[in-house]
């Protein structure tokens, strides 16, 4: 089954590194990225809800973004019953415990700090996708 990987990050550098990381994964991944959380919310809220029962989605999101930040976005997604079980991984350069705590409190499935080495960064992305590919409830 194809994985729908959706990345929300206002840094094009991060989006390119993630896109490059998944290019070596052997199973099919439908990759979509959004630089603006509001565009992502329009996209995800506009999808036919049945698709979340039929296909696997994984959302990886930054926190520190303009206008709507990652926390507000997370609240909006979790308030939508159709998206309640979609795995959401918050991925930030912040190692602050309060950011991690807030993310998990708002319904994120995991909180990861962005590594500062390319190999480690890409390995973490691949391991995250692999993990959630097997731990998906919808």
């Amino acid at each position: 089954m194809c994985i729908n990987l959706v990345v929300v990050d206002d840094s094009d550098v991060d989006i390119l590194i993630i896109e490059d990381a998944i290019s070596d994964i052997s199973y099919p991944i439908n990759f979509k990225s959004f630089s603006h959380p509001e565009k992502f919310l329009n996209y995800i809220e506009g999808i036919n809800p049945e698709i979340f029962q039929m296909e696997k989605f994984i959302i990886i999101s930054d926190i520190n973004m303009p206008k709507i930040n990652g926390f507000e976005m997370l609240e909006r997604i979790r308030a939508n019953a159709h998206l309640a079980l979609v795995p959401i991984i918050m991925f930030s350069s912040s190692s602050s415990h309060s950011d991690a705590f807030k993310s998990l409190s708002l319904g994120a499935n995991a909180y990861l700090t962005k590594p500062l080495q390319i190999d480690a960064y890409q390995q973490l992305i691949c391991a995250t996708i692999e993990f959630w590919r097997h731990h998906h409830h919808s």
């Binding site: 206002d10 840094s11 094009d12 550098v13 991060d14 989006i15 390119l16 590194i17 490059d20 520190n64 350069s93 912040s94 962005k114 500062l116 080495q117 390319i118 960064y121």
Partner: protein, 115 residues
């Protein structure tokens, strides 16, 4: 002798792009935009004496600084953080601003020349 810091490590970019010229240009474009956005937000933060604006700008550029070894800019931003926490926006801020602008310009010039 004062240590010489790198502006950017292009070897890391080459290792990542593996001769894919389209990807290479996309990555260089993205680094350029990231540094330009940092420069705009950081200088606005200094001019408005806003620590949250500077913190946010610093936070946003952190992965790019680390992943591609923008050493000189990282050191200057680190020095600026200490300076602002200890002395606010008074002593030394103009010197820091000048060093910061020079460092961002150096990165942007190197990226431009590398293409």
């Amino acid at each position: 002798m004062e240590k010489k810091y790198k502006n950017i490590d292009f070897k890391k970019i080459e290792e990542m792009v593996e001769d894919d010229m389209v990807f290479r240009n996309q990555l260089l474009d993205a680094i350029q935009v990231a540094v330009e956005e940092l420069r705009t937000a950081y200088i606005r933060g200094i001019e408005e004496e806003s620590l949250p604006t500077i913190k946010q700008a610093r936070h946003k550029i952190k992965p790019t600084l680390g992943l591609f070894d923008l050493e000189k800019l990282a050191v200057i931003i680190g020095n600026g953080k200490r300076l602002m926490l200890e002395k606010g926006f008074a002593d030394g801020i103009e010197t820091h601003k000048k060093e910061f602008l020079e460092a961002t310009n150096d990165v942007l010039e190197e990226v431009k020349a590398y293409r």
